[in-house]
């Protein structure tokens, strides 16, 4: 069950493969096929997949009282993956293991904050952005730095890649939340129904406070479609898109100080292009 869910999740989620891609592209070209890079990529994938399995359980929310044995399998499978990731990262030594452990802890803290904010229509955009930086930002920052670390990068490069990862992580999170507005039946939209209010929703509330009155409780079907329509009408998507572009631009700027990072800049542009494509 765990394997099936990991595979299914990997197909649906962009962030896992994005982290692995950043990790590999962050390494020097001659290093990319070395076992240490593969071990680091495994560790990042395991971290992302393990925590995503847990996230999916949280996203289910209180529903029909049936029972799903897959919940327990996913929960324990997620823990298993975290252990597996720790084993992989240990192959890279002290500094990499410390980076990985620290990022993992940050991501969990971000998820806790998000959980505490469920159904809180008063959540501010600033709080969303700081939490996204702590969560997705930490994952992509870890990926970027691990790749470079394996190539013997200096502190200045690592600091630039940290900023790159954090900015791009926020952008990727916004992109995932914008997907809620594409189709009310998509998982991202259902997450809004389950109380997870992303940046498009929060910015729409700023423009049209009446939207908050529609939220704050479990929504599905027509109620959810109505709320999402109001979010669209209030310009939530456009304003979130602007923030996404600012973050992508910030990520690209962070790379200015580092040479040989053209492929990372392309990955960042890809997040923006994906948004434009969806808009069309």
């Amino acid at each position: 069950v765990t394997l099936a869910r990991v595979a299914e999740g990997a197909r649906r989620s962009a962030s896992g493969s994005l982290a692995a891609a950043i990790l590999v592209e962050g390494a020097a070209p001659e290093e990319r096929e070395k076992p240490s890079i593969a071990a680091a990529a495994r560790a990042v994938e395991a971290l992302e997949a393990g925590l995503r399995l847990h996230d999916e359980i949280l996203d289910l929310g209180p529903g029909e009282d049936g029972g799903d044995p897959g919940i327990v399998a996913s929960g324990l499978g997620g823990a298993w993956l975290l252990g597996s990731g720790a084993e992989s990262i240990a192959e890279l030594g002290d500094v990499a293991a410390a980076m990985w452990g620290d990022a993992a802890h940050r991501i969990v803290r971000a998820r806790m904050i998000e959980f505490g904010d469920l159904y809180d229509a008063g959540r501010t955009p600033a709080r969303y952005l700081s939490t996204a930086e702590l969560g997705s930002g930490s994952l992509l920052s870890l990926a970027a730095r691990l790749g470079a670390l394996a190539s013997g990068a200096d502190q200045r490069t690592l600091a630039a890649l940290d900023e790159f990862g954090r900015e791009l992580g926020v952008a990727a999170q916004i992109r995932a939340d914008l997907a809620a507005l594409d189709d009310p039946d998509r998982p991202a939209a259902l997450r809004v129904g389950a109380g997870r209010y992303g940046l498009p929703v929060l910015l729409a509330i700023e423009a049209d406070p009446g939207i908050a009155g529609l939220l704050g409780k479990p929504l599905g079907g027509e109620g959810l479609a109505t709320a999402l329509e109001r979010v669209r009408s209030a310009g939530g998507a456009e304003r979130a898109g602007e923030e996404l572009r600012r973050r992508v631009s910030g990520a690209r700027s962070a790379l200015d100080a580092v040479s040989g990072t053209e492929s990372l800049a392309e990955i960042a542009s890809g997040v923006e292009a994906d948004l434009a494509e969806a808009a069309e």
Partner: protein, 726 residues
């Protein structure tokens, strides 16, 4: 302005605010012989918005101040009743710890009287009082030099070596000092009004949820507290939106609540008459340990935002933080050392600073629709009680068997365990609701921090000092053991808010503990991360075995032992090896690992027997909890082997009475004794391994190997007695 302002007075310590926090700080300092001046803009006595409730913790502080008479004159409160939607009622919510005598149970004392008495007590001890409006602290070269008063003729200045800000939820000192900490998150508001009731009041405080307003629900509660036999303090507290957003008009919320009481609780209170003027204020929650002090400017009480984020209760926290501030100031004046107030207060009140609004929202959600079934309601009540029931007043490890045992061997182990405990508290402290509280209760439950003890004993056996690496190894090991207690609580059911909350907590707290362990492990040595990862995988595999076997009466003894080896064995193995690696030991590290594995398997069997027979008070597990949850442990497997008919009825959940009958049959079949014998076999093997490893300083390893048998003996008697009594 401060340079031009005339200096009109000076004191060693100036306390801004004459409420409970200010008066307690001043009284404490005056008693220590300090020259202390309280400054408050009010003349006393004065009214103050509050529920007037003094918890047993607050009564305890009053006793320490010699003011027990004040508490005794208050109205006694013996219970808390929760009323849901003016329909279902449950009592029994006020459950002080067993150590609290009845004389220290909760009381209500109107704040007008309480604050006056506390101020009088401070003045009697030698503190001075000045009535004036304080504008801001005088800060020069980063140090507080005193305070600036606002006077009609211009600013005046009072000089001081230390300044304690106790000026309440809307603290001017806090704003003026720029210490920050105000949050964009939800804000709490409260308002109260006194009424005379037609019916006499029970010694019970009533809490009403949900809180209705204009046809919707607010996240909060209404209360009715008896302050005399015929006089009640009636009020509401609720979470509003973040500052700057439109919120409900607080007076109208109270009016709506009083209207509901008149309409739907007329039988309990009769007519509510003679209302006082309603008064309200924000409640300062969102405590942060790193925002309690700015050099020699210390914050306490609600100026340090110490109110309980769930209940809004603030007096005991205010008084305790004030004592901590006063003692810190006195120590600093004596020794010149900088106070570490935030850390002290943070350690004393670990649950502060956590945003508990989630729980309120869950409460609202559960009560939504006013259609809770009786069973669902009970489950909800149990879940909330589990979360809120026993906040760790003393989050140390002093009373845990592991610490006592190791302290008997060598005091340095006890010191290191305390250090591990501090680090555990730090690594688990997040913004999130009750995470730390729940997890730390697990650390203290049962025998206490066995994994940490095992790691320290293994590190100490090498003969080196127990340094930071050993402490980090012990912390990481204990965090992994904690995660092993979280994940198995996952349930396949997600149908209710309670089940969903249970699963969410299991995952989030498990992940928090695991990732904290990973972060810490590399502080010990890099190799620890690999050891830790492998152990986590094996533990997860063991948990999967157990999940597969839930409610399976065909579970064999071999399967139980397999699971014990995978779960308990793995974290025992890990703990001992981490300790050894941290101390630089490399020669017999596999033997150390085997010691840890056997020790912790023995420990787990002993705890499984105890769960069956006596349960665990701290984590509120009743006897037979594993059995009722379908987790058939070793004594059950042995019993089924001896008495196969026991299988009947074990393939689905048992009622409480049925579980009791099954426990009796398990005992009669000899299952408990056989499991106990198995436990002793593992413990003996650990003791043998310890004897071989002991040189040069491994006595702690040997002592720890005796722990499982001692835990068993507490519930079964000695092996000889057990044999005699069957």
């Amino acid at each position: 302005v401060s340079e031009r302002a005339p200096i009109v007075d000076q004191a060693e310590v100036v306390v801004v605010g004459g409420g409970p926090a200010g008066s307690v700080a001043a009284a404490t300092l005056a008693e220590l012989g300090r020259d202390v001046l309280i400054v408050d803009q009010s003349s006393f006595p004065r009214e103050k918005p509050c529920g007037d409730g003094l918890t047993h913790s607050a009564v305890e502080v009053l006793e320490e101040l010699g003011l027990q008479a004040l508490a005794e004159e208050g109205q006694p409160v013996e219970d808390c009743r929760i009323v849901i939607a003016h329909g279902t009622e449950t009592k029994g919510w006020y459950r002080p710890p067993d150590r609290i005598p009845r004389s220290r149970f909760m009381r209500t004392v109107p704040r007008r009287d309480l604050d006056q008495s506390l101020l009088d007590a401070a003045l009697e001890r030698g503190a001075r009082f000045a009535q004036a409006r304080v504008d801001e602290p005088v800060i020069e070269d980063g140090e507080a030099r005193g305070i600036l008063l606002s006077k009609p003729g211009g600013a005046e200045r009072i000089d001081a070596r230390y300044v304690i800000a106790a000026d309440g939820a809307t603290s001017r000192m806090r704003r003026a000092s720029g210490i920050g900490g105000e949050t964009a998150g939800s804000q709490v508001y409260a308002v109260r009004q006194y009424f005379t009731t037609q019916e006499s009041l029970d010694p019970v405080f009533d809490v009403y949820v949900p809180l209705l307003y204009e046809g919707g629900l607010l996240a909060g509660y209404g209360w009715v507290f008896p302050i005399a036999e015929w006089r009640a303090n009636v009020g509401v507290a609720y979470y509003g939106p973040p500052a700057g957003r439109p919120r409900a008009r607080i007076r109208r919320v109270l009016d709506a609540f009083v209207g509901e009481l008149r309409e739907r609780q007329a039988g309990r209170f009769g007519e509510l008459s003679d209302p006082s003027r309603p008064i309200g204020s924000p409640i300062a929650v969102h405590f942060s340990p790193d925002r309690c002090e700015l050099g020699n400017l210390l914050f306490c009480g609600e100026a340090a935002r110490t109110a309980d984020p769930l209940t809004g209760e603030g007096i005991s926290f205010s008084m305790r933080s004030a004592r901590a501030a006063a003692l810190a100031a006195d120590r600093a004046l004596r020794t010149g050392a900088r106070p570490a107030l935030g850390r002290t207060v943070g350690r004393e009140f670990p649950r502060l600073g956590q945003n508990l609004s989630l729980l309120t929202r869950v409460a609202v959600g559960a009560a939504d629709g006013f259609a809770l079934s009786e069973a669902e309601h009970q489950r909800f009540v149990l879940a909330v009680r589990r979360v809120t029931g026993s906040a760790p007043d003393e989050p140390g490890l002093e009373a845990t068997p592991v610490r006592e045992l190791l302290a008997d061997e060598d005091e340095r182990f006890a010191e290191s365990l305390d250090h591990v405990n501090e680090r555990l508290l730090d690594s688990l402290r997040t913004e999130f609701p009750f995470g730390l509280e729940t997890l730390h209760r697990e650390v203290r439950a049962g025998a206490g921090p066995v994994a940490a003890g095992c790691a320290l004993a293994a590190a100490g056996a090498h003969g080196d000092e127990l340094g930071d690496r050993a402490v980090a190894a012990a912390q990481a090991a204990e965090l992994v053991a904690l995660a092993d207690r979280c994940f198995p609580r996952l349930s396949p059911r997600m149908g209710s808010h309670v089940a969903w909350l249970n699963n969410a907590m299991s995952l989030l707290l498990g992940d928090l503990a695991l990732t904290a362990a990973l972060g810490v492990a590399v502080d010990a040595r890099a190799r620890c991360a690999a050891e830790l990862g492998a152990a986590i995988r094996r533990i997860a595999e063991g948990e999967m075995l157990d999940a597969d076997d839930l409610y399976d009466p065909g579970r064999t003894i071999e399967r139980c032992l397999e699971s014990l080896a995978a779960r308990a064995g793995s974290w025992g193995f890990l703990a001992a090896r981490l300790g050894a690696i941290a101390s630089g030991r490399s020669d017999d590290i596999d033997a150390v690992g085997r010691y840890g594995r056997d020790l912790v398997v023995a420990h787990q069997i002993a705890e499984d027997v105890r769960d069956l027979l006596v349960g665990e008070e701290l984590t509120r597990r009743r006897p037979g909890s594993d059995l009722r949850e379908g987790a058939y442990t070793l004594p059950v497997a042995y019993a089924i082997e001896a008495d196969p008919e026991l299988r009947d009825g074990l393939s689905s959940p048992l009622s409480g009475a049925d579980a009791g009958a099954v426990v009796v049959r398990i005992r009669e079949s000899g299952g408990v004794e056989q499991a106990a014998a198995e436990c002793r076999r593992f413990a003996d093997r650990a003791a043998e391994a310890a004897a071989e490893l002991a040189a040069p300083r491994g006595e702690a390893l040997i002592a720890l190997a005796g722990l499982p048998a001692a835990r068993l003996e507490q519930v079964l008697g000695s092996p000889a007695e057990a044999a005699t009594h069957g």
